[in-house]
Amino acid sequence: MPPIRWHIVVFLAPAVLVYSAVMIFPLFNTLRLALYSEVDQTRIFVGMENFRTLFFDPIWSTQFWNALGNNLWFFVIHMLVQNPIGVALAAVLSHPRLRFAALYRSAIFIPTILSFVIVGFAWKLILSPIWGIAPTMLDAVGLKFLFAPWLGKEEYALTTLALISVWQFVGIPMMLIYAALLSIPEEILEAGEVDGITGTSAFWKIKLPLILPSIGIISILTFVGNFNAFDLIYAAQGALAGPDFSTDILGTFMYRTFFGFQLQLGDPHMGSAIAGGMFAIILIGVCIYLFGIQTRMRRYQL
């Protein structure tokens, strides 16, 4: 048996210990806690009971499906609005003879570095009918009739928040796609030019297929980020995710359940069950990406 090379152990130990103790162990412990419940201040094993309550008990299941549905819509808006805008901005920015590209890039990225608290409140103020910035500005372009207290209306609040989040994070797809576009070899584009493919058609026919892997990465990052979102909704609408839970997503639902709010006591076991649900959803998404999309996309890679 070869001697143990202690330096390897010393190099690995701190990272592995912290990561295992603070991330992996609590993750599995949370999944385990989902199988317990508290009766008369003692923890008892109840198996899948919490999940049955979550999915089939009318009070819980309405809330759960509401949060899941809202979360899905939140994700759909990001995919349909944030990522296309990001790609479009990157396509324009990557134009070889564009001046001030670095300046635009840095400016457009600024919202991404702000905290959700700032973003949530700033937009709340701007959209507030009391302050009146939004109605005044719409009035200036003759569209005042479009104004409504968007964050206060059940039918608009979630979409508005999703768009605010899009505003905040559009910088990330922009940067990643920009990098991917710059890495396309010049020869390929020149070869296209010889065949008469330039401008917009060069984008659709040559560049877009080549940046598909980056779009895949952005989609999965968006997916994981959205299904684990919490801060913006909490900052703008509070833990109750109003009006009438219309902006409740899985993150706020889990927070309310496990931490408690107003008169309802916190229930760590039901909270864990919701966390288990979120874990399953994220895992499914990541697996679909890794095995379904990424492996198939390799073919286009250079």
């Binding site: 912290v18 990561y19 603070v22 412990n29 457009i108 966390a275």
Partner: protein, 279 residues
């Protein structure tokens, strides 16, 4: 001729689109900042006007300084962010070096194990993390946050840094070994200085999410003396909701440090994002 005019039109259209989007991106920040320096009356009467001699007022900032302990919050955020970054970089680089440099049984599995956390958010384990922090008495201490952010940042740090460490030339390391340097000396004196750009990338990636996080400060360290700037401004604004001067000033004070950090590190951040380190 037609081509030249077409090009010019094209360029104008591109600048037009970019300017419009830049305005959309900066407008809310701009409105908050200018109004924080105005009297209550002019905030409502002329929300889009710049503060002038008549409308200038610092009343909001006075409230913020009197009522909220923003200096303490700022200090807490600073300690948490810097300490977490230090541990992420130190522990991450050590582990990355072990994975990149040595062949040993379980190397690949260890790499995969550490990479798991790149895709799985640490928030899923919050219930058990809180229970653990309560049991160890770390709840409402900055250590709770530092530990959580270190664990959260390690997976990506190990992944990025080990990619870079594989590129350090073997000849260099072997020459050092011949000269009698220990493995520790090789790591600290030879390899670490060479991967400094990658360390900077990892640092800027982690800096912003840690500074801006609301979830863990809210759950693990909500006490007055451990509030971070993000949580502190959230709570402050919640209490002063009707005092527009105070709210706008608090927002501006939360924006300022991040903007300063961004101006200092933006080149590093953008280089990191566009160097393909995330792929």
């Amino acid at each position: 001729m037609i081509n030249a005019r077409g090009n010019r039109l094209n360029a104008a259209a591109m600048h037009g689109a970019l300017i419009v989007y830049t305005l959309i991106a900066l407008f809310p920040v701009f409105v908050i900042l200018i109004n924080s320096f105005k009297t209550r009356k002019s905030i409502f009467r002329e929300p889009l006007a710049l503060p002038d001699a008549e409308s200038f007022s610092l009343i909001g900032y006075q409230t913020v300084f009197k009522q909220g302990d923003f200096f303490l919050y700022f200090q807490n955020s600073m300690i948490v962010t810097v300490a977490s970054l230090f541990f992420i970089l130190l522990f991450g680089a050590m582990a990355a070096f072990a994975l990149a440099e040595y062949r040993f049984k379980g190397n690949t599995i260890m790499g995969l194990y550490l990479a798991l956390g790149i895709m799985i958010p640490i928030r899923i384990g919050t219930v058990a993390i809180l229970e653990m922090m309560v049991a160890t008495g770390l709840v409402n201490t900055l250590w709770a946050l530092i530990l959580v952010y270190t664990a959260q940042g390690l997976p990506l740090a190990v992944f990025i840094l080990s990619e870079f460490m594989r590129q350090v030339s073997d000849d260099l390391k072997n020459a050092a070994r011949v000269d009698g340097l220990s493995e520790y000396a090789i790591f600290f004196q030879l390899v670490l200085p060479l991967v400094r750009p990658a360390m900077a990338t990892v640092a800027v990636f982690n800096m912003i999410p840690i500074w801006n996080d609301l979830w863990f400060p809210l759950i693990l360290a909500p006490a007055e003396e451990t509030k971070t700037l993000t949580l502190g401004s959230q709570v402050f604004i919640g209490q002063f909701v009707t005092d527009w001067n105070a709210v706008l000033s608090a927002l501006s004070m939360a924006i300022l440090p991040v903007l300063v950090l961004y101006v200092i590190f933006s080149r590093q951040l953008i280089r990191g994002l566009t160097s393909g380190a995330v792929k």
